[in-house]
């Protein structure tokens, strides 16, 4: 694509579908893991069938408690969270959460299950447990679990460990495996490459940045466990940079996220190399964000005569 735009076309003539490693999504927008529950929660506030995809809260092989409150704190143009991956566990997920997801999938929304674990084996077991599950299209591995203290490996910041957990999950699964990268690393591209070499189908970029917020009067962290993950518009420049880096270093597709608030934000991620995008924190502030972003992206393309949204992917002009 050249830098210049063409004549406007009708919004309905814009093809906003995208293909993420063979998984065709009717539009590029998914809800990010941990910011949309297991699905039904948001369905009262928005029309879920307008989504391209839906990523569940992280699922472990057994239920996890999560952390004590306070679990969230607001910061300038962002927020910190330390939910601690409270989750119902694989069995309850299959039993209670898949019926809704099956219907959602039937309405044309791609369903991606975010997977967490403390050991390579735990990831593998979740992948195996989700074999043959017809409610889901893909897995997304969250390899930045904050569980180092419990004996787990720092999967998210070590290439070898990231490769291992990817390989084990791919081996256990019958579905495409996306790996969600941590931004808290010196070199995110080599993390991406390690995952790609071990069978990842796509890379989700980025998870939250580790941060700290304190209450000066009590001189205590605002979150019960101390540190937390920073998300929201504050991190968008870091997320765009990493999307650009990973998409150029790796040959598998990148799913971009971090601070997306508007259609413009989402399109910026695509121009920087993301084949699709996810929306997280914005859902909390306006639960209809995703719906509005999809509409805005279509409109933006129509006004500029972009007939196929995926033509924008990775078209950032360099000098």
């Amino acid at each position: 694509m050249s830098t210049r735009w063409s004549d406007p076309i009708a919004p309905e003539d814009v093809d906003i579908s995208v293909d993420v490693a063979g998984l065709v999504m009717k539009n590029p927008v998914s809800l990010a893991s941990g910011t949309a529950g297991y699905g039904p929660e948001l369905s009262h506030a928005m029309d879920m069938s307008t989504l391209g995809g839906f990523v569940t809260k992280g699922i472990a092989v057994t239920p996890w408690e999560g952390n004590a409150p306070p679990r969230i704190a607001e910061t300038s143009a962002g927020m910190l969270n330390a939910i601690g991956l409270q989750n119902v566990g694989l069995r309850a997920f299959l039993e209670h959460k898949t019926p809704y997801l099956r219907d959602l999938r039937a309405s044309g929304v791609r369903v991606i299950v975010n997977v967490i674990g403390k050991t390579v084996d735990e990831y593998h077991r979740v992948a195996k447990g989700l074999r043959d599950c017809d409610a889901i299209d893909a897995l997304e591995l969250n390899i930045s679990c904050p569980n180092i203290k419990e004996g787990g490996i720092a999967f998210g910041t070590d290439c070898v460990a990231a490769g291992e957990v990817t390989a084990a999950t791919v081996e256990g699964s019958d579905k495409p495996v996306w790996v969600k990268l941590s931004p808290n690393v010196s070199d995110i591209s080599s993390m991406g490459l390690a995952c790609e070499e071990n069978g990842a189908a796509a890379l989700s970029v980025i998870n939250t940045l580790v941060g700290l917020s304190i209450d000066l009067e009590s001189r205590r962290p605002r979150l019960s466990i101390g540190k937390g993950g920073l998300s929201g518009p504050a991190i968008k420049p870091v997320a765009l940079r990493m999307t650009d880096e990973v998409s150029r270093a790796c040959s598998i597709p990148v799913v971009g996220m971090g601070g997306i608030w508007t259609a413009t934000d989402a399109l910026e991620f695509m121009v920087c190399g993301a084949s699709a995008v996810q929306i997280g924190t914005a859902n909390f502030v306006n639960p209809r964000t995703a719906e509005q972003v999809v509409q805005g992206m279509r409109q933006w393309c129509a006004e500029r005569g972009v007939a196929k949204i995926s033509d924008l992917v990775g078209t950032l002009q360099r000098k």
Binding site: G34, H44, A45, E65, R220, F284
Partner: protein, 288 residues
């Protein structure tokens, strides 16, 4: 639940940082039940930036009159400071009504409403609902001093309720000298009755703890409305949790039906109203 906007009809300064915000939106009013709340978009929005503050803030609906609903709030930080500056006509983003609601008293039961400070609003909502049903109720309302008497506005506006309403201040500058639970117990002593009671309470954690303790010792069912730090109000951020007492202190049978997932309950969807004996009334010291 509606994701919508409401128009400011009035934003009345009641002194000492307490304000009454009156908002017009028919759909929200239509779904209100005593105990429910709204998430309000209180920040300033500048194109290309998230609002500041970014997250919406939760507030109980105090009263519905026609298509107008009232929120009583105290200025405590950045969001409520923005609210205090809202002028008539301003359009505010609203998500709600959210959360569960108080269980109505059984026929023949007398409702005891205990409200402290900006925890009084849900008690106004209860009193309205109970009065509409000609149910029997008594309210005990407390603030720290007469300067905070603006918190009583929902009851002050209904002089016909006066015989049912007992006001208290911590410093004795108005009404009963002491806190709401003491006021209630003093009244119990002065006016013994055999009517079955059911307690409804909202206020600071320290007050809710006292309510739970007294209600347990008197064997009276009690429901409390809790205020936790909320990110979304609809169960998607998992930020607003409160500890499940059945999980930590429950019987063997209780625990056998539970998974670790059940330790922390989301206050926005499982609450904000809980059985006072069902949750751990502790906030890690960071909330009030």
């Amino acid at each position: 639940m509606h994701e919508t906007v409401a128009t400011v009809v009035e934003n009345r300064d009641l002194g000492s940082g307490v304000h009454l915000l009156r908002l017009r939106n028919r759909e929200v009013c239509a779904e209100q039940r005593a105990g429910r709340f709204v998430m309000l978009g209180v920040g300033e929005t500048v194109e290309g930036n998230p609002p500041a503050p970014m997250l919406r803030r939760p507030f109980s609906i105090q009263r519905v009159e026609g298509d107008v609903f009232d929120v009583l709030y105290r200025v405590v930080g950045v969001g409520t400071t923005c609210m205090a500056a809202m002028k008539r006509g301003r359009v505010v983003e609203v998500l709600g009504p959210l959360g569960n609601a108080f269980t109505p008293p059984a026929p023949g039961e007398q409702a005891i409403l205990l409200g402290g400070g900006v925890g009084i609003p849900p008690m106004v909502a209860m009193a309205d609902a109970l009065s509409a049903n000609n149910a029997d109720w008594k309210a005990f309302l407390g603030v720290s001093s007469t300067a905070d008497a603006g918190c009583f506005v929902g009851f002050d506006d209904r002089p016909s309720w006066d015989s049912r309403v007992h006001r208290a201040t911590m410093d004795g500058s108005l009404g009963f000298h002491g806190h709401v639970v003491q006021a209630w117990l003093a009244d119990r002593e002065a006016n013994p009755s055999v009517t079955k009671k059911r307690v409804y309470a909202c206020g600071p954690m320290v007050m809710l703890r006292a309510v739970a303790k007294v209600a347990a010792s008197l064997n009276i069912p009690a429901e409390v409305s809790v205020e936790t730090m909320m990110g979304c109000g609809i169960g998607i951020c998992m930020g607003c949790v409160i500890e499940n007492k059945r999980f930590t202190e429950g019987s063997v049978e209780d625990r056998s039906t539970m998974s670790p997932y059940d330790r922390w309950l989301m206050a926005c969807t499982k609450g904000p109203v809980f059985d006072a004996q069902g949750i751990v009334l502790d906030d890690g010291g960071l909330l009030h």
